[in-house]
């Protein structure tokens, strides 16, 4: 198979694009898809300080690498979830990447800094592990960004992630979640702006990007994720994609372009009437936010603790914490 762009030997075929690419053209393809996402959704205003949610997996490390290639400086934040050897290995990969590229990586360790880990905490709180994990990530990344003056949090959600979430939201016709499903969520009082620059790239592309760029990422799946609904949706969508290449992209982007606006007002009343959590001050519809309730049940302590964000500076002192995005 030959590269669509230069006719060299291809290393990857992408049926969705009816194309194959050699190594150099594939890297350009990935960069171009991110550039388009940044531009089309006006994700990162010029001069913004960007914080990437880094997990040690393929998506977040590839995102960090691509943003740098596009001239966008960003710092990283790794959240230690206390999932045994899996968390230890993923933390090491995140640190190694930051060190190798001279980047700033902040860290929060859930057991040490907040008082619970995901395996035991989710049991104590009677939540599914992925639910407790997602809630902790959303809360703590937002908290860290606000605490350290970042304007934008960028996550590694890719096309497959977004299509799977859309399938779940659509099967339940969950209009409030559909209203919030968009590649950029603007910042509001108490919430930092959130963007998903990989929305135009699939999981195969992200894994392949890491392989061709020599990015060492955690290949093993999180042991807590086995059997979760999200994986079932991805499997179903991949079966559809096999029969009809481009089905996932059509499903997601037709929703974003033609249907998302119809749900925009869902949940607006609740979003407009948020009050500060009595525990941590984060916006919440009730007295105590969902994260503080999780923390209280999981750690057994009703006393809120300030969550330190350990700055692990891995770049030269002159660069550390000084990163600002140029115009994408």
């Amino acid at each position: 198979m030959r590269c669509r762009s230069c006719r060299a030997q291809a290393i990857i075929d992408l049926r969705r694009h009816n194309a194959a690419f050699c190594r150099a053209c594939f890297v350009r393809h990935c960069e171009e898809q991110v550039r388009r996402a940044l531009h089309d959704y006006r994700m990162i205003p010029s001069g913004s300080r960007v914080l990437i949610a880094v997990s040690g997996g393929k998506d977040s490390l590839a995102l960090w690498h691509i943003l740098r290639s596009l001239g966008i400086d960003a710092d990283g934040l790794y959240l230690g979830l206390g999932i045994g050897a899996y968390s230890g290995a993923s933390a090491e990969l995140a640190r190694s990447f930051a060190t190798a590229h001279g980047l700033v990586l902040h860290e929060i360790d859930l057991p040490r800094d907040v008082g619970f880990d995901i395996p035991e905490g989710s049991k104590a709180a009677r939540r599914a592990p992925c639910s407790a994990c997602g809630l902790s990530k959303r809360h703590l990344f937002n908290h860290a960004a606000i605490t350290h003056g970042y304007d934008v949090v960028a996550t590694g959600h890719n096309l497959d992630d977004e299509a799977a979430v859309l399938l779940g939201n659509t099967l339940r016709w969950d209009d409030e979640f559909l209203a919030r499903q968009y590649p950029v969520l603007p910042g509001t009082e108490g919430f930092v702006r959130k963007v998903k620059p990989l929305v135009r790239l699939g999981e195969r592309e992200m894994a392949a990007y890491c392989v061709v760029q020599g990015i060492d990422y955690i290949v093993e799946e999180c042991p807590m994720a086995a059997g979760n609904r999200h994986l079932t949706y991805k499997d179903l969508l991949n079966q559809l994609e096999e029969r009809s290449p481009g089905a996932k992209a059509a499903f997601l982007f037709n929703f974003l372009e033609r249907a998302h606006a119809r749900f925009a007002d869902a949940g607006r009343e609740q979003r407009d009437s948020l009050v500060p959590c009595t525990g941590c001050g984060a916006p919440t519809p009730g007295e105590v936010c969902a994260f503080c309730r999780l923390r209280e049940r999981a750690s057994g302590s009703s006393v809120p603790v300030p969550v330190p964000v350990t700055p692990t500076v891995r770049s030269s002192p002159s660069r550390a914490g000084a990163s600002r995005a140029g115009a994408p």
Partner: protein
């Protein structure tokens, strides 16, 4: 050929498959869910395989959202 699968990591010997696509069909793996690395090089689905090759089939699906 030696085939390495991930999640969990395991190895097996497979005989007879002539291309990456044929190997994935034989193992009932959806091509969209994996990348294939033959002798440390990323390869396309039409790549021919030989008995001396080492082929890693790496799942790309992650569960978090």
């Amino acid at each position: 050929m030696k085939v390495v699968l991930r999640n969990p990591k395991r190895e097996m010997e497979v005989a007879g498959a002539t291309t990456v696509n044929a190997l994935l069909v034989e193992l009932s793996i959806i091509p969209e869910s994996v990348i294939v690395i033959c002798n440390d090089e990323l390869v396309t689905h039409d790549t021919h395989l030989g008995d001396d090759d080492t082929v890693e089939i790496r799942s790309v699906t992650s569960g978090g959202a």
